[in-house]
């Protein structure tokens, strides 16, 4: 099998798995006062410190959650609520138009249920958020804005975003910036304190940790109303018994991924560059989406004109090659990618796209397997696309 869907989830790193197994047998609720509880608490706090150190944050800024979706919801809704409570005029969210659905749907929920206003920031043709559009929106709405949310790197097309510039624009208006850094953590340099970001979403399973644990890195001075109420864990921002083995394994993965980043970027980026070149050789009509240079090293994203992405996925899957058409929908019905549509692609180009994402277990053999199977799959998917098109 050639697994080319590391952006969906990537295998656990050996050190993370070992940490999980070693900890899972331990007894103790980290909120308990007795000795087993204190032992569990110590493991959690050491993990928090390791993650904070790896990400350039203070330990108290690391709020453990169940993962990316929860962290995004907590940041978007929680910061919105807190800012509006402090100043009822602040009811507007500014969001990039290429966010993950965990952000988009949270923003739309605020619009539908909390009467929030929203400004969607456009992107250019490579999927890069237009900083001038943010400046213009802040000039116009500065004193009405609750928060700005813009991801660090796009999960579909891989384009790395101008986070420093976005944060700089926000700072001038003293507006908090949330960024979803789920895809970026192991692939681009990140220093939370230096970035000027107020809140940052991270998750374990995209970088070799377990599924079901993540964090919101939340600046000390950023107010955030909780989504979950209960025992008051995590600065009273996120109640719930702490997942000790998950957190310890998450810390191991963050630490390992950040430490190995330079080598990872060189090795995985090299395989990715070869993949792009060989896909273009094999299928000359293929169009690379996203920023050709400033993109995640593990990401390659193409449109195959005349083909439907989900037909290609089926055919490649049958050849043992796992890839993705973009964000999966719960019912399994392929929708044209909102990211590509925001980049100005037409519906056909958006539907004809496929993402190949690499990770720490990727090898050149994966590229070879893909390139061996791809031309026949494109030929067949093209016929299926023609059947559809002929009908009009």
């Amino acid at each position: 099998m050639a697994y080319l869907d590391h952006a969906a989830t990537t295998p656990m790193l050996p050190e993370a798995l070992a940490a999980y197994v070693a900890t899972a047998g331990e007894l103790g609720n980290a909120s308990s006062l007795h000795a087993p509880g204190r032992r569990a608490r110590r493991l959690v706090e050491e993990a928090r410190e390791r993650i904070a150190a790896a990400l350039g944050a203070r330990p108290s800024e690391v709020i453990f959650t169940s993962g990316g979706t929860e962290s995004d919801n907590l940041a978007v809704k929680g910061v919105f609520w807190a800012r509006r409570d402090a100043d009822p005029a602040r009811t507007r969210v500014i969001a990039s138009s290429i966010e993950h659905h965990a952000v988009i749907d949270a923003v739309e929920w605020l619009v539908g249920h909390e009467r929030a206003a929203v400004t969607w920031l456009p992107v250019d043709e490579v999927g890069r958020v237009e900083v001038d559009a943010l400046r213009a929106a802040l000039d116009r709405y500065g004193d009405q804005v609750a928060l700005v949310t813009a991801m660090w790197a796009n999960n579909e097309v891989g384009t790395v975003q101008p986070v420093a510039e976005l944060a700089g624009a926000c700072a001038r208006y003293r507006v908090p910036l949330h960024t979803d850094a789920v895809q970026a953590i192991s692939q681009v340099p990140i220093d939370f304190a230096a970035s000027g970001v107020a809140a940052m979403t991270v998750t374990g399973h995209k970088l070799g940790g377990p599924i079901g644990v993540g964090a919101l890195v939340l600046g000390r001075d950023v107010d955030c109303t909780p989504l979950l109420h209960g025992g008051g864990q995590e600065r009273d921002v996120r109640s719930g018994t702490l997942d000790v083995p998950g957190i310890v394994a998450f810390a191991a993965s963050v630490e390992a991924a950040v430490k190995a980043r330079s080598a990872y970027v060189a090795r995985v980026g090299g395989i990715r560059d070869l993949l792009v070149a060989r896909v273009r050789d094999a299928v000359p009509t293929a169009l690379l989406n996203g920023d050709p240079v400033d993109r995640l090293p593990g990401n390659a994203h193409f449109s195959f004109p005349g083909c439907e992405g989900d037909a290609l996925l089926l055919l490649l899957d049958a050849q043992g090659i796992a890839c993705s058409t973009g964000s999966a929908c719960s019912a399994g019905v392929a929708q044209p990618s909102h990211v590509l549509l925001a980049m100005g692609a037409d519906d056909d180009r958006a539907r004809s796209s496929l993402r190949f994402s690499l990770g720490h277990t990727s090898t050149l053999a994966d590229v070879t397997a893909l390139v061996d199977a791809l031309p026949a799959a494109v030929e067949r998917a093209g016929r299926a696309g023609a059947v559809r098109a002929a009908r009009g």
Partner: protein, 359 residues
């Protein structure tokens, strides 16, 4: 794979027969949001989940194919237009003709597959010709009689040699959780079963008179002729009793004048059925053809002779049938073999001067 027991067992049998099988569930609701949170979204998601679980157990890949636009154009819009025109369509026939063995089959062939396998209760003989299921009560050959030979050549019906009870037993033996799932009967795109309400929502109120066939008198009114089908008795709400005191039935629906004509049951008896251009499922039969005609999905077959009159198929029944509506389909059988089908344009009685017809 609908999520039901029949398609699950059909898929399993196709695997057993040595084929390389991929499971496909069709997403047919147009607004994808209904799959996530709509009123009937839960049922649709549940069916998709059941189909996925069956595919897991069988050990085959599984995908959802979005056929919502095609389904809406070819089945739902057709269904509404047929009722608006005073006819009584069978959407399952259209779905087989236009979706399962057209849109799905064409896509499958283009992708390199050889056939579409379904859980229909029907058989393909060694001669490759379409036949009834061995389970007469569950036979679905009627709704497949719209298929042309080139469609049937790429169809497989693995469970047609097995009764429904045995299909359920086999599903249980295979560990398929859908073994006990109840059969679906309703029109799949009318979730609450309220066809009249569905049509009213799309066609609006179209009030008109209910007229007695014998006297010509207006005996009542209605909100839309599309709510009535030939042979219907219930829901007439006729204020004036019939002269003879006997129950009255819908004899004719004329959407242009919005008139629903009612009369006694015997005026529903017909023995000549005229259909449009027929679809032959296999070789074109020698004409005139003597065999059996079936006029409803679960109607009894009636001995008949059939011949062409220009482009029309004329079927003469040896015994009369009651309440045959334009828009329904007449299917011809030679014993248990499906010969072909035609959409009924009008049905008349050779005994009566007066004829029921549709404009």
């Amino acid at each position: 794979m609908s999520g039901g027991v029949d398609s699950a067992v059909a898929a399993a049998r196709a695997v057993d027969a040595g084929y390389d099988v991929t499971g496909v569930h069709l997403a047919l609701a147009r607004n994808p949001k209904t799959y996530r949170s709509g009123a009937r979204g839960c049922c649709t998601l549940e069916d998709a989940r059941d189909a996925r679980r069956a595919a897991d157990v069988i050990g085959i890949p599984f995908y959802v194919w979005d056929m919502a636009d095609r389904f809406h154009e070819d089945v739902v819009d057709d269904f509404v237009a047929e009722y608006a025109a005073g006819r009584t369509p069978n959407p399952c026939l259209r779905c087989n003709e236009k979706i399962k063995f057209a849109a799905v089959l064409d896509r499958a062939l283009a992708l390199g597959f050889d056939a579409v396998v379904t859980g229909h209760h029907a058989r393909l003989g060694d001669d490759g010709l379409l036949r009834r299921s061995v389970d007469a009560a569950k036979d679905q050959s009627y709704v497949l009689a719209v298929l042309r030979p080139e469609q049937i050549a790429h169809a497989m019906f693995p469970i047609g040699d097995t009764g429904k009870v045995d299909v359920r037993t086999e599903a249980a033996q295979r560990g398929l959780a859908v073994a006990e799932k109840p059969d679906s009967h309703d029109i799949c795109f009318i979730a609450d079963g309220d066809t009249h309400g569905f049509l009213r929502g799309r066609l609006g109120a179209q009030p008109g008179p209910i007229v007695d066939a014998a006297s010509g008198d207006v005996v009542g009114g209605h909100d839309g002729a599309y709510a009535f089908t030939v042979g219907q008795r219930r829901g007439l709400r006729v204020g004036v009793p019939a002269a003879d005191g006997r129950p009255r039935y819908v004899l004719d629906v004329s959407p242009v004048t919005r008139t629903v004509t009612v009369g006694p049951a015997e005026l529903l008896d017909v023995d000549v059925v005229v259909g449009g251009s027929p679809t032959w499922c296999g070789p074109v039969p020698a004409l005139p053809f003597a065999g059996l005609a079936q006029l409803r999905a679960h109607g009894a077959p009636i001995p008949c002779s059939a011949d062409m009159d220009g482009d029309s198929l004329v079927v003469r029944l040896d015994e009369s049938a009651r309440g045959i509506a334009p828009g329904q389909t007449v299917v011809l059988y030679d014993d248990d073999r499906v010969i072909g089908s035609a959409t009924i344009q009008r049905a008349t009685s050779s005994q009566r001067a007066s004829a029921t017809s549709s404009t």
